[in-house]
Symmetry: C2
Subunit: 439 residues, 2 copies
């Protein structure tokens, strides 16, 4: 086996910075002030191996490829962008998962960062095929049991030779940590994102580990950017997909950074079954809810980390909508507020601008009666029954607006529909990052 | 009659700058680089008088009220925001126009800038009633023949005493120019917006004059912010509304600055009939199209001026969508591109980032086939048949991106649906303006 030209040392230090031109620019932007103090301790998942490598395609001095391999009889599920311009690897995965081909044999997910292989036409499909071929041959994996994910610039042909050259190294050295894995899939992210949880199923301890990347072009329509959830639990493929879909609605699909939906949004779930619990094959299984909540915990944690790394963000905004006719209406109103540039710039300026919040509620076009609208900011009533509260004292609200975590709650009626969505403020940092980065 | 406390001198010089705190901040932002060289020469409209006054409510040293009065038998039409949180004056106008009460008698439109009287609950409705009452009594106008418009901060009670105090002055001195009128309705606008055209109807020369205001919270759902179109043509009320609606679809409804829809969007049309042409009472009238095009010319000019004054803008972006199944699909795709923060920041950075354009086409969710998408920027083919053109030379496109007028055309199929929409780039200026201004 040949030695790779460049293999950066792995360590547990956060090494997101001195990496190439892009990251040099992000050094100026610095790590998000909302980043967690450190990457969590995340144990390996039995039956799953991780490997990373540096293709040298775009970034210098950092890994930009991730191979996740699972043992036979692992189960996979995936959710993908609903964009009309979904990227070639998304279409590849959808075809494979629709045929349930990856569900009962050794399987793999290969990811590259720096080029999204999106809007690349027939070249893009040839590139997915060539990459899967190379991995299938070298790794003795059924080609149709290989899933592919790409993230980075849109519209540029993908150089598959760069990727193929690293496949032997990815197969030979598969002892990467979750932290290594999370770093290898980053693009404009300023920190690596990981989360883990455990639960007891059938008397057996089960572990869930997840990683994700994303900080711009975040308005998931099905899943956000790239997310990977792995567990050693035994669970049937259809129940794995069911849990993924349910948890996704309240995590990755409940966030927005900038209202722009990526061509490459993908979230994968892998269950190796190594924990040895009684396989969960229906929602009626006594352990279904335990696993559901453990997985949802990881996904929500990752989703919020993505918002905390929203391009240029200084504040995490949590928006609760209450009293809508149904959850779907509440969600639409919540996203209308979360995507409003005027609400997000007001938060950036520490301005408790309830007028803009009400404007964004109104433009959602749900047909609510404005005379019942109430607005709370930081737990303080700002408006009740369609107008500002009498003798409003803005002081405590202004203090809340100075913080990093901004809570907005809007009551829009007496219905039972609710939604909680997350976003970040819109700052000069977002402009700086996106006015000079071709992503 | 008492002399008003403060009546600034009127002149034809552009006087948008040394006005109060808000305008002092906008001095830092300076007049939009896309502003026209000067305000156009706009003749009076026979049968219509204009008056402006300074309420002192918010701005110091400038007029912030506008009264337009028309002679008997003038015809009015209006289009308004479709927001669920439409402001009290919008509801007032909708009620009046629904009853056709202002159509055949002396009538008036009173506008104030600085407070939108939006989300003000029952207080807001009392304020509209009190203001209309005061004007009706002092001016001997039927209260139901008075239309009201407000623009400015949302959620704050409107001080009607300030407005009522100026009504005698507005009635006594009604010789304001269109330029005075356009300046009196400004809020964050950096320049006054006016446009005029003429046409021959039935051998008579007819004049159209229009003014508008708006530079943020611009994503009209029916009309944008405040627009006023006046003509001396004779035309029936239903035909006036018909023309207003048709022209609006291709002018004010075809622009977006920041995807946020105002609570106060209103556009009014007034036809005094003083020109003496044979009244246009149906679309089949030989002169219908002449008047339609003359009015549309004014409205499109004003709409583009609003984009040219988009908060923080440096570039006007014209987006053509071609080949959609129908105009509605084309419009949705166009607005998806026009509202994408990533497309708008790329343009701000002079980056011909076709990948982001394609992303925004995809997220519109129309169900187009990405393999037929073509993208032209500045007239140069960038992508054809779903991928970047072979041997793409970015040099001429990069030169185009350095300019102030950016043209993007996207072909999405072979259908006959087209749309042209206008937006501006997203810059640090937008953040600066909106992170510290309560609008």
């Amino acid at each position: 086996m040949s030695v790779p030209k460049y293999r950066p040392k792995r360590s547990n230090n956060i090494q997101v910075r001195p990496f190439g031109a892009l990251f040099q620019r992000r050094v100026c932007m610095s790590i998000s002030p909302l980043a967690p103090d450190s990457f969590p301790d995340m144990p390996p998942i039995g039956g799953l191996s991780l490997a990373t490598a540096a293709s040298g395609m775009k970034y210098q001095g950092r890994d930009d490829m991730l191979l996740m391999r699972s043992i036979a009889d692992s189960h996979f599920a995936g959710l993908f962008t609903q964009s009309d311009t979904a990227a070639a690897p998304v279409q590849w995965c959808q075809d494979r998962l629709a045929q349930a081909l990856c569900q009962s044999r050794p399987a793999a997910i290969l990811t590259n960062a720096g080029n999204a292989n999106a809007f690349t036409g027939s070249k893009g499909h040839l590139a997915t095929m060539a990459t899967a071929d190379a991995l299938a041959k070298a790794g003795h994996i059924d080609k149709d049991a290989i899933l592919l994910a790409s993230t980075g610039v849109i519209g540029e042909p993908l150089d598959t030779d760069c990727l193929a050259a690293q496949i032997p190294h990815l197969l030979a050295d598969d002892k990467a940590s979750w932290h290594d894995a999370a770093k290898a899939i980053m693009t404009t992210d300023t920190f690596a994102k990981g989360a883990t949880s455990t639960c007891q199923l059938d008397g057996k301890q089960v572990t869930i580990c997840g990683i994700a990347k994303g900080s711009g072009m975040i308005a998931p329509d099905m899943a956000t950017m790239l997310g990977y959830i792995a567990t050693d639990a035994a669970i049937s493929p259809d129940m794995l997909l069911h849990i993924l879909r349910r948890a996704n609605a309240q995590s990755f699909n409940a966030i927005t950074v900038d209202s722009d939906t990526s061509t490459n949004d993908s979230v994968f779930a892998i269950a190796t079954g190594v924990a040895g619990n009684d396989e969960i094959t229906s929602e009626a299984h006594t352990d279904f809810n335990h696993l559901y909540h453990a997985i949802k915990t990881v996904m929500l944690d990752l989703a919020k980390q993505i918002v905390r790394d929203g391009e240029g963000t200084q504040k995490l905004i949590t928006i609760d909508i209450l009293g809508a006719d149904n959850d779907s209406d509440a969600y639409k109103i919540g996203m209308s507020v979360a995507n409003s540039p005027l609400v997000k710039t007001a938060v950036a300026g520490c301005d408790a601008n309830w007028g803009r919040i009400v404007m964004a509620v109104g433009k959602a076009g749900i047909g609510i009666d404005q005379n019942v609208i109430g607005v709370r900011i930081g737990g303080f009533d700002v408006a009740l029954a369609g107008q500002r509260v009498e003798n409003f004292d803005e002081t405590p609200v202004a203090t809340h607006m100075q913080g990093q975590n901004i809570d907005i709650a809007v009551s829009v009626g007496t219905g039972s529909g609710t939604a909680r969505v997350y976003t970040c403020d819109l700052t000069h940092g977002y402009i700086s990052i996106n006015a000079d980065y071709r992503s």
